[in-house]
């Protein structure tokens, strides 16, 4: 395999059979639902991967994918196909709530905190959470934050914890100075997460479509935002069951604004917009 494509530009259109087969694989492996309208998306994202591999035809890529060991190309394929949209303090009200809960629990005498960011993408969300934790909990507290994602690429970026000034736009100057180390290079300014903050976060790959999850729980807070939108109701229901299992009583589950547990056969109780609790 070479870095550069050898056989010229890759095919522009994916044939229906290959598309169907790939979407089947994606659904089976990651629970991500890709309907007919996502042909352009699949074509675009797979072709990027194909370009890296120097494969020209989608059919050939499919064969390569099917022949590859489970922990190689399928992982890369899911890396390519997964959507990683995030920014610091996305949906800020959630973080306000988070700060409030933490402060309340600390006031109640809780010292051990376990949080889970279920779809951490390139790390902006867990670092946002971590900043809130460090701002509102004392140093003495035992705080661990698990950040998981399907994409190893996203996880790698998250673990590196290096962000451009553009990405840092939503982080206040105060927080940026406290929790980031600025580096100026020829290519521009970069912000590196300070080790003290990085240490409290464990990054790991987790396929949310493969239940049960290896964690034992309980978590005080689960952030599972903007990930259920990619799943169908079946996967979603099982995901919520797992969240129910992992969340402590009176713990909070935070989902995306577009995501609603209404209509789901879940026992969660809505607390605020897209925030639920385990009563």
């Amino acid at each position: 395999m070479t870095t550069r494509s050898m056989g010229g530009p890759v095919e522009t259109r994916i044939d229906p059979a290959t598309f169907r087969r790939i979407t089947e694989i994606v659904y089976r492996k990651a629970g991500i639902v890709l309907d007919k309208r996502k042909e352009a998306l699949v074509s675009a994202r797979i072709s990027k991967r194909m370009r890296q591999l120097g494969i020209v035809r989608f059919r050939d890529y499919l064969r390569f994918l099917e022949e590859s060991p489970e922990d190689e190309e399928p992982v890369e394929m899911l890396n390519a196909i997964s959507t990683n949209v995030t920014h610091f303090f996305r949906e800020p009200k959630h973080f306000v709530h988070l700060a409030g809960w933490l402060a309340r629990w600390q006031a109640e005498g809780q010292t051990r905190f376990r949080l889970w960011c279920a779809a951490c993408s390139s790390g902006e969300e867990p670092y946002s959470m971590a900043m809130m934790i460090r701002e509102h909990l004392s140093e003495a507290c035992d705080v661990r934050l698990l950040a998981t994602d399907l994409s190893t690429h996203a996880l790698k970026a998250a673990r590196e914890g290096v962000y451009t000034a553009e990405q840092m736009e939503k982080v206040s100057g105060f927080l940026a100075r406290r929790y980031f180390c600025r580096k100026n290079t020829a290519a521009g300014s970069f912000y590196q997460v300070i080790p003290a903050m990085a240490r409290m976060i464990t990054f790991a790959r987790l396929n949310l479509a493969q239940m049960p999850y290896p964690m034992r729980g309980p978590f005080d807070i689960i952030f599972c935002r903007n990930v259920m939108i990619y799943f169908d109701n079946h996967v979603r229901a099982r995901l919520l069951d797992e969240c129910w299992r992992l969340l402590r009583l009176k713990g909070y589950l935070v989902v995306g604004h577009a995501e609603s547990l209404s209509g789901q056969l879940s026992q969660f109780k809505s607390v605020a917009a897209s925030i639920y609790t385990k009563p």
């Binding site: 530009p9 998306l41 370009r51 922990d71 990683n84 949209v85 690429h153 521009g188 964690m215």
Partner: protein, 676 residues
């Protein structure tokens, strides 16, 4: 050379010029060589055969002469046959020469050959004559030897006779002497001496004669060997001397020896005669020989002359060949030098005319290549940014799309719920009406209850009164029982029980009365409540009508919203498609830009190679150090595929990422997850 010609034309022209020079040189050389060939052919076909023939003639002539000489010396008649054979060969050679001379119209040689032919003929004739003469001489020589022999024997006979005579005279003299010895007369002594001397003298004279004869013989032999008639003259002189001596001896000879002497003399005369004839024959032979020699020498001369001519001709043609070869050498040398010079000149001009524009091209090419490299790097980085941006955009849109879908489904659900609510509201409405109606009957029922409660109250009062009376009766009975004593004891117990029952009845009646009173109150309040309820139900009916209207509105709105979101969703899906395409294109163009960058790099290296090719490695190194492969700062920026990670991750991380298996970066096992 003008710029308007193509490079190939220029090179072809240069080669054409060189080839033209070489062809000219070759043609000149060929012409020269053809001359050489012609001369060589002349030589081999004309001069050399002529020379060969003439040499042959000369050689054969010499051989003939040698044979002739041998013949002269030995007189061996076999030589004659040899000479004849030689002469035939000479004749053939001469004829050949004549033929060749005639063939090539060499009049001079023809003449010479003819002369040689004549001379050969003369020679042959002379030789025949000489042969005859030699035979004659041989006869004469034999005669001479015989006559010499005869003379010798005559001389010996004479000498012997003379010796005998002398011996006799000595004997006489000795006897005489013996007698005269006593006298010792000196005269006799002198006589004896004189006598002895004369005898000795005679003996010596004979000896001399014989010696002379021998000498003459030797001289003749010598003359014969030397073919010198003058020597023969000396021999004749000897014979003349012999005759003179004989004449002198005659006077001294005794008579008895005269006959012998005459014989001797005759022999001497014969000897002389034969000698003279021999000498004459020799002279004849000599003259013949002279003629013969003349002929042979003429023949030789002619042959030599032909040979000389041949040699001269061969020499001439050789010289011509040498000259021509020299000229050819010169022309080839000069031509080569000229070709080399012209080649050098042309190659210089050509290389100048090629390298100059190429150098210019290289200069502009290197500048362009550099620009292309920097531009392509820019393009690469911007297209990578674009790719990343569009990828992010695509991701955002994808998330938006997914969210919208979720929202759409929620809205759909809302609409469904609203519809259901609407339906339920309809049901509620009728149910409320039912309720109102029920309420009315409830009111009536309550009224009836109140009424019946009132009646019941009356009954209860009656029961209470009865209970009072029973109590009184029971008291009476108890009194009566007490009076009865033991017999009434059982009755007293009964009376007590009856009293208890009466009390409980009164209590129950009281309770019931209060209950009924409560019921009455309740019924009254129930009536009031039902009235209120009827009011409420009326209100509910009204509000449920409103709710139904609102729910209908909500249903419609939700439907519209769902449709709207559906439309938005469709639009977003379209947008998504376009954006995804754009993202893919951006990726493609980023990849192409990277390729372009690599190509630009390649181009740079090619330019360096070209520069090295044209200007040499050293010069190339000096011309544009920035163009050296990996020499400039342009390469590193190619790896800016991932602008946010490039400065911190190892160089070429973008490329390496594809090779590292995912688990190396992020462990795929659940070890870390299990800690939670």
């Amino acid at each position: 050379m003008s710029k308007q010609f193509r490079l190939s034309v220029k090179i072809a022209f240069g080669f054409f010029v060189l080839i033209a020079i070489l062809v000219g040189m070759g043609m000149f050389t060929v012409e020269r060589l053809r001359g050489i060939q012609r001369w060589s052919v002349d030589e081999s076909e004309q001069a050399v055969p002529l020379l060969k023939d003439s040499m042959k003639i000369e050689r054969l002539s010499l051989a003939t002469m040698a044979d002739d000489l041998r013949y002269q010396l030995t007189g061996d008649s076999r030589q004659v046959a040899l000479i004849a054979t030689n002469m035939t060969a000479v004749k053939v050679a001469i004829d050949d020469t004549l033929r060749l001379a005639t063939q090539y119209s060499l009049y001079n040689k023809q003449q010479l050959a003819r002369l040689a032919g004549g001379a050969a003929e003369d020679y042959r004739e002379q030789l025949e004559l000489i042969a005859d003469q030699i035979e004659k001489i041989a006869g004469i020589r034999k005669q001479m030897v015989e006559s010499e022999e005869r003379f010798q024997s005559a001389c010996r006979a004479l000498s012997a006779a003379q010796s005998r005579t002398s011996l006799k005279s000595f004997e006489e003299m000795l006897a005489h002497t013996l007698t005269a010895a006593s006298t010792n007369a000196p005269a006799s002594k002198d006589n004896i001496m004189a006598e002895l001397q004369s005898h000795l003298k005679k003996g010596v004279g004979f000896r001399e004669l014989m010696d002379l004869s021998r000498e003459a013989h030797v001289i003749m032999q010598q003359a014969d060997i030397q073919r010198d008639p003058t020597l023969a003259t000396a021999a004749l002189t000897n014979l003349t001397t012999i005759n003179t001596r004989l004449d002198e001896l005659k006077s001294t000879l005794e008579v008895e020896n005269l006959q012998t002497f005459e014989e001797c003399r005759k022999a001497a005369k014969d000897y002389r005669a034969t000698m003279e004839s021999l000498v004459a024959a020799w002279k004849t032979q000599q003259s013949l020989r002279a003629k013969c020699e003349e002929a042979s020498s003429q023949m030789m001369r002619e042959a030599r002359e032909i040979a000389d001519h041949g040699i001269v001709q061969v020499n001439d043609s050789s010289q011509n060949v040498v000259k021509a070869v020299g000229e050819a050498f010169f022309s080839i040398g000069f031509g080569t030098a000229a070709a080399v010079a012209a080649g050098l000149l042309f190659s210089f001009i050509l290389s100048r005319s090629i390298t100059k524009p190429i150098n210019q091209i290289i200069t502009s090419l290197s500048v362009s290549a550099e620009q292309v490299a920097s531009v392509s790097n820019q393009v690469t980085s911007s297209s990578q940014q674009l790719a990343q941006g569009s990828s992010e955009q695509a991701s955002n849109l994808e998330e938006t799309s997914a969210s919208l879908e979720q929202m759409a489904s929620m809205t759909r659900q809302n609409a469904d719920n609203a519809t259901q609510t609407d339906k339920l509201m309809g049901e509620t409405k009728s149910m409320v009406l039912d309720g109102v109606n029920s309420m009315k009957s409830v009111s009536a029922a309550i009224d009836a209850i109140r009424h019946s409660a009132h009646e019941t109250n009356k009954i209860v009062k009656t029961i209470d009164e009865i209970a009072f009376q029973i109590n009184l009766l029971a008291l009476n009975a108890a009194v009566e029982a007490a009076r009865a004593g033991d017999a009434g004891r059982g009755f007293a117990v009964v009376a007590e029980e009856v009293r208890n029952l009466a009390r409980r009845s009164a209590e129950a009646a009281k309770n019931t009365a209060s209950l009924i009173e409560g019921s009455q109150k309740d019924a009254e309040s129930g009536v009031q409540a039902s009235a209120r309820m009827a009011d409420s139900l009326d209100k509910i009916r009204e509000s449920s009508l409103k709710v139904a209207t609102l729910v209908a509105e909500i249903t419609a709105a939700s439907r519209q919203q769902a449709q709207g979101i559906e439309q938005v969703n469709v639009a977003v899906a379209e947008m998504d498609k376009v954006v995804q395409h754009n993202a893919a294109n951006a990726e493609e163009s980023a990849s192409a830009a990277q390729e372009l960058s690599a190509q630009a790099q390649e181009l740079n290296m090619l330019v360096v190679e070209l520069t090295e090719l044209v200007r040499g490695r050293e010069a190339a190194a000096h011309t544009n150090p920035r163009l050296r492969p990996n020499g400039g700062g342009t390469v590193a920026s190619v790896h800016l595929s991932d602008p946010m990670h490039a400065p911190l991750s190892s160089p070429g991380a973008g490329g390496e990422r594809k090779h590292t298996t995912p688990e190396k970066a992020i462990p795929l096992d659940d070890h870390e997850l299990k800690q939670f």
